[in-house]
């Protein structure tokens, strides 16, 4: 599974670079518009180490942000699973909160919390929380009649059991959405760094953009992609492991 993720990424990246290089050759563009192989290789050797370290910095924030948003989405999903007034209120409030674009809220976050760790974390969590919430609410609000019926009839149903049944029955779906939200958390952190932070790969991309250096941006994309592929692969492996343990 991990290998597949990495292969897929390498294939897509190689395809993207090949298309760019083909355009460069066909149109006769200079290295300023699209860098050539030599320029890419030279830039990669120069900045790859630093960029990988930046990506790890970003990934750390993204992982924490994702954990926060998973917890938040689970909490709201559990609270909002019931078809009561309170459940509906929680769901509507959570949906409305997400209606505001993050880029519009980001400047306020940076003014309040500065351009450090907390702002990046908050933005990462906000960006990946909504798709998680939608899935969790969907899963938690959908009864598994075949199993739940037994516990209800015997009077043994508790909310913890209800949550556990619904989570277990939809573990595949949950794992997929959590792995997918890793991309969003990473993207959210990068956006935050690009807008105002002074660390991480988003900040490095911003500097490369100032310098009109597409080679650096392509190297940064490689570093982000490969790291994210490994992380997503690990998340999927973790999901399978949990499923196996629960099945015993």
């Amino acid at each position: 599974m991990l290998h597949r993720r990495i292969y897929q990424f390498l294939l897509i990246y190689a395809l993207g670079i090949s298309i760019l290089l083909a355009i460069k050759v066909l149109v006769g563009l200079s290295d300023y518009v699209i860098p050539g192989w030599e320029s890419l290789w030279h830039t990669a050797r120069e900045v790859m180490g630093r960029y990988l370290s930046d990506v790890m910095n970003t990934l750390t924030v993204a992982v924490i942000g994702q954990v926060v948003s998973v917890i938040l989405a689970l909490l709201i999903g559990i609270l909002g699973r019931q078809a009561t007034w309170f459940g509906s209120f929680i769901k509507v409030a959570a949906y409305n909160f997400q209606a505001y674009p993050i880029v519009a809220i980001a400047p306020i976050i940076f003014i309040l919390f500065g351009d450090g760790f907390l702002s990046r974390l908050l933005i990462a969590a906000m960006i990946c929380y909504f798709p998680l919430l939608l899935t969790v609410v969907g899963i938690m609000a959908e009864p598994i009649y075949d199993i739940e019926h037994f516990y209800r009839q015997t009077g043994r149903m508790r909310w913890q059991l209800e949550v556990k049944i619904r989570a277990f029955e939809n573990l595949g779906k949950l794992t997929t959405v959590i792995a997918g939200s890793a991309t969003l958390a990473m993207a959210g952190t990068i956006v935050a760094e690009f807008i105002a932070a002074s660390a991480g790969i988003g900040y490095s991309i911003r500097i490369a953009l100032y310098q009109s250096d597409l080679a650096k941006i392509l190297v940064a994309l490689f570093a982000i992609g490969i790291t994210l592929s490994v992380y997503q692969g690990l998340l999927e492996l973790g999901g399978n492991l949990v499923k196996r343990v629960w099945s015993r």
Binding site: L29, S30, D31, Y32, V33, P35, S212, D213
Partner: protein, 328 residues
Amino acid sequence: MTLRFKVLFCATLITLLITLLASRHAFPDEKIVYRLKWLINMSTVGDVMAESQGFFRAQGLDVAIKAGGPERDAIRELELGYADFGVASADQVIQAAAKGAPIVVIAQLFQVNPLQWIYFKDKLQLNALSDLRGKTIGVTFGKNDEFIMRTLLSQAKISEEQVKLFSVRLDYTPFYKGQVDLWPVYANTQAVEIGQKLRAAGKAYGFLSPGDFGVHFVANSVVTSKREMQERPDVVRRFLEALLKGWQTAIEPQNSESAIAAVQQYDRDTARDLLVEQLKETRRLVQPEATKAIGHIDAAAWKQTEQIMIDHRQIERPVEIVRFLMPQ
């Protein structure tokens, strides 16, 4: 066919031809895209004046002025054929030249780089560059203000450990709060705005101008592609003529009203009194000496800019930037 009909037919044909030729002359047929470096504000007053006063049209050009931004790169657009002319900073031009971009600088809009650092006089006494030692200085990492400041520091023999370089954004709060001692601003736009606020608050402020210490890093310039120069030299000449006339008209004091009105068409958020002050500052930067022609390309300053880029390893080897400047 009767003689009368023949005469009528010829007269109609001649009238049609004359109308067609006259309309070709009266309406511009050369469509031009001009990509700016940044949003339209007082720094582009000459560009918008050339358009609003009909100077481009008089040269038979239909120019679409397109605002720039951080994600826009005029040089890339020139090469890809999305723009015919553009405005680029000197460091962009040199980097592009180093990577083989076929470009030519046809005019240098600012003779003095508008970049300065603002500071509070009650916090900082700045008589020499050595006074920067121990200070927190705002720079935009990766942009030319970083290289300019590093050049100033190396001139004063101040090492990086002896100052704190602070990464700046468009939010000036760290400067107002006193977390940063010097903050980079453009003399003809942000400096005017901040200066007005600080004067209202009774604060004394000063500016650190790199030019005062012999650092002449070229600012924005007008560029076009080599292809345009070779294939349509007449269009380049007409464009430049109209553009420089626009700048000349914009900085003449008697045209202040029309210059401000031209900018206000695009920049509706800046107050009029600020625009008046910004225009005054812009005049000083565009034509510091009456003897120097508007748009003059300062080859010596370009060479110094290239050297700064080499010193800070922004380019690996010299590009002989003079080769990319249009002969004057």
